[in-house]
């Protein structure tokens, strides 16, 4: 029998918010892994940080806004959302453009997180 502390799954998201299927399928896997009592870390890097922009209006694109799902993840036991600092610095985004419940970590901290994880899946 495994416990939440024993299995850690990192889900690394580099696809942009305009690639809705990739993003949705990343979150779906995270939710199911959390339901199996795994500790799930969502790590946003590169263009993936665009998923975290708060004032997106998918309606203008006649698309569905998939970002709202990120706002309630703690209710599904996904409590750790990380953003790679260098990806933010390389974008034109500021911290206050992004959802508030995220932690900013360096490239080396991302590497360390991944080295210590039991599972790593990239999207």
């Amino acid at each position: 029998m495994t416990t939440k502390q024993e299995i850690t799954t990192n889900i690394m998201i580099r696809c942009t918010s305009l690639n809705a299927a990739d993003f949705k399928e990343a979150i779906d896997l995270g939710l199911v892994c959390a339901a199996f009592d795994q500790q799930v870390n969502l790590i946003f890097i590169d263009g993936g940080i665009n998923n975290l922009i708060t004032n997106q209006s998918a309606a203008n694109l006649r698309d569905k806004n998939h970002v709202d799902i990120l706002k309630g993840l703690e209710f599904y036991d996904i409590e750790h959302i990380f953003v790679e600092k260098e990806s933010l610095e390389n974008s034109r985004l500021q911290i206050d453009n992004l959802l508030p419940n995220v932690q900013f970590i360096s490239v080396s901290e991302v590497l360390e997180l991944n080295l210590n994880a039991d599972n790593l899946v990239t999207f």
Binding site: A21, V32, C33, N116, L120, V121
Partner: protein
């Protein structure tokens, strides 16, 4: 792109006691990812290591479309997976949600939706993400992704 994602904190010796779950997420049109995944599986089997499961997610589920017909002088990815599965009694699992999203429909769903046809190849089995998550929950299982 090949992404072999292993916990490097473990030594190679430790892997000898592990089972492997193979996650394929690349489109079958990205033939190299699928071919590399199959070569990796064959190598594991040759070393008497255990394959716990083979799971197709995202665009990789398109490989289960029995109507896809690549030119005869190109790799027949679906047939190669079928041969591997039959030779070693390995189940090929496709994510049901990812499959329906991409138009891969099994007989049951076709009946439910009153569709005229289904196109899931017999060599593949529709399963939920829970099958993958369950495998990932086992400390003995190492996950390897081909993206």
């Amino acid at each position: 792109m090949l992404a072999i994602l292993l916990n490097s904190a473990h030594s190679a010796q430790k892997y000898m006691t592990h089972e492997f779950t193979i996650l394929v997420s690349a489109s079958p049109l990205n033939t190299q990812s699928h071919l590399t995944a199959m070569r990796f599986i064959e190598e594991l089997l040759q070393q008497n290591l255990t394959i716990r499961s083979i799971f197709f997610y995202q665009d990789a589920v398109l490989v289960a479309n029995k109507l896809s017909s690549p030119p005869s002088d190109e790799p027949q990815i679906r047939s190669l997976w079928q041969n591997l599965s039959e030779s070693h009694d390995l189940e090929l699992q496709t994510c049901v949600a990812a499959s329906y999203r991409r138009g891969i429909i099994d007989k049951h769903e076709a009946n439910e939706r009153a569709l005229e046809h289904f196109n899931l190849h017999d060599s593949f089995k529709m399963t939920g993400l829970g099958q993958l998550a369950a495998a990932m929950s086992s400390p003995q299982v190492k996950l390897v992704q081909f993206k």
